[in-house]
Symmetry: C2
Subunit: 315 residues, 2 copies
């Protein structure tokens, strides 16, 4: 979609709708790089300004370091453009985060999306600062652009205002934005109020907050459901100032609502499997589990009632 291409950057900055790309697996639970690359291309052609592989919806933390590295290499070799990639490179282990981040920079990715190290829970601001400072210093590359991935409902740790402030002061050209998956627009507003003036871009973590976020100055959204509904979400993104915006928001909310009735990641995979006519897509890695047949039927039925489609995915 040409309007997506034209809107995807703004002075080199990411803008618009990004999908944390689902990771397809073979029957033996090994990642399927070719299927992933094909899906990446489809997403870029159907509403995604860029892609955030290796996010929560990608089951990235269910992948080993080597699997993540190999998958990134593979999708680049298959022609997915690096300058439209924002891979997740956060990890509990400093050495893993450094290695993944260095690879992304070396391969020309637009930026990286970093979870904080999420095992220890009683970590001080100093500890998180030191972790990110070490990553930045060790990668040691002026091209590095970090987007902080704030997701307290799952990570149980996050980025307090003061921590973001310290990171921005120390690394103003490197720490450039946030994915705010707090599920709280007041939090998004606090980040924008404090840091948007310094060029810090905030993406909301669900399209439910896209219109509200855009009105506050957000840069777009990085949302799990962009894996299946990026076209409609992008139409909302493009038209957020128009009289159609509320209606477009209601439309994407309806689809999101149907998906949220079931576990999110297996739900999204079931949708892709159905619309791609490719049952292999349903496979998730443990500890996640597939939908039950009843969950799947409800989900697909609800979406059919909304005339939901994924054009061109099949074949």
């Amino acid at each position: 979609m040409s309007e997506t291409s034209s809107s995807r950057t703004d002075g080199g900055r990411l803008r618009g709708v990004l999908a944390p790309v689902l990771t397809p697996f073979h029957a033996d639970l090994s990642p399927d790089a070719r299927r992933l690359a094909r899906f990446c291309r489809w997403l870029l052609d159907h509403g995604c300004a860029a892609l955030a592989p290796f996010g929560t919806s990608s089951e990235a933390n269910s992948l080993s370091l080597g699997e993540r590295e190999s998958l990134l290499e593979a999708i680049l070799e298959e022609g997915v453009p690096a300058d439209r990639l924002l891979p997740g490179t956060g990890a509990c282990a400093l050495t893993d985060a450094v290695r993944l981040t260095a690879q992304a920079v070396r391969r020309g990715c637009a930026g990286v999306l970093m979870l904080p190290p999420f095992y220890y829970k009683a970590v001080s601001e100093d500890g998180f600062f030191r972790f990110f400072a070490e990553v930045i210093e060790r990668v040691g590359d002026a091209r590095l652009k970090i987007y902080l991935y704030h997701f307290p409902p799952v990570a149980h740790v996050g980025f307090a205002l003061k921590l973001v402030e310290r990171l921005l002061q120390a690394y103003p050209r490197t720490v450039v934005g946030m994915k705010d998956s707090s599920g709280d627009l007041a939090h998004t507003k606090s980040m924008l109020d404090a840091f948007a003036g310094a060029g810090f871009d905030v993406f909301v973590g669900s399209e439910r907050f896209l219109l509200g976020g855009m009105r506050m100055g957000a840069a777009g959204c990085i949302s799990a459901t962009a894996n299946v509904n990026a076209g409609a979400i992008d139409r909302l993104y493009q038209a957020w100032k128009s009289p159609e915006a509320e209606r477009l928001q209601a439309e994407v909310d309806a689809a999101r609502g149907a998906v949220e009735k079931v576990p999110l990641i297996p739900g999204l995979k079931a949708i892709v499997a159905h619309h791609a006519a490719d049952p292999g897509w349903i496979t998730v890695r443990p500890p996640l589990v597939d939908l039950t047949p009843a969950q799947r039927d409800t989900l697909l039925g609800d979406l059919a009632a909304l005339k939901f489609e994924m054009p061109g995915l099949r074949g």
Copy 2:
């Protein structure tokens, strides 16, 4: 200590006091295998029946897979006996957990201590069961002995009674015990009541619960503070039926209380650094941070007042 050696197994089962061994780092934050091996030997000579390297106190989740594999190889090469090792091999990624667990079995370790995959929080019992089943099937070795590491305060996921029951039913010779770090003796009791009869061994996760746990039928304790106080904890373990037990419990509680006033892992490292006269021991990996000088002074002062010692650690 001869009584430790004699008490460490009971028909091949682990018993007594285990330390989740602290991981020493070089100044560049790389793990120091030789210092680790030396410390392992000291612990085995000073109260530890066995060792649980790569636990929470070991900063294991701050280490990469390769670092964990190399460290285990290194301490074995340095003469730490495999049959007294219970390495942590849990991981968020199935492939990592399989690889670490297979290494431990191949190298003859007494067992493995496994955290559940801890990134996703809304995981079903089926999902955890499937994860452990995959690990067990893929390792595919009758020598494998898994101890489940139940630690909801940090992992935010854990092992419900029903999940343990399913695992025991499916893999009765493989799933053999638990480290219960719930901090709740009622939970320990529920596990013992349900499964001790089937030969399931429960270790309490802190020596605070050792006497209470032993009276319920626990197998011992696997405790962070065993890194510095295993001798006294083992005296309590040996004498739990004696009239001295309450006094010995109070003594280990007093030391534990001093350590708990500061962040636990950097606190334990500061104690080892002091008693080994080896300042390099204080280094922690981000996101953890060193104690402040004031915290360190308070900690060492409190312990000195308790006449706390680590005999033979220096040099």
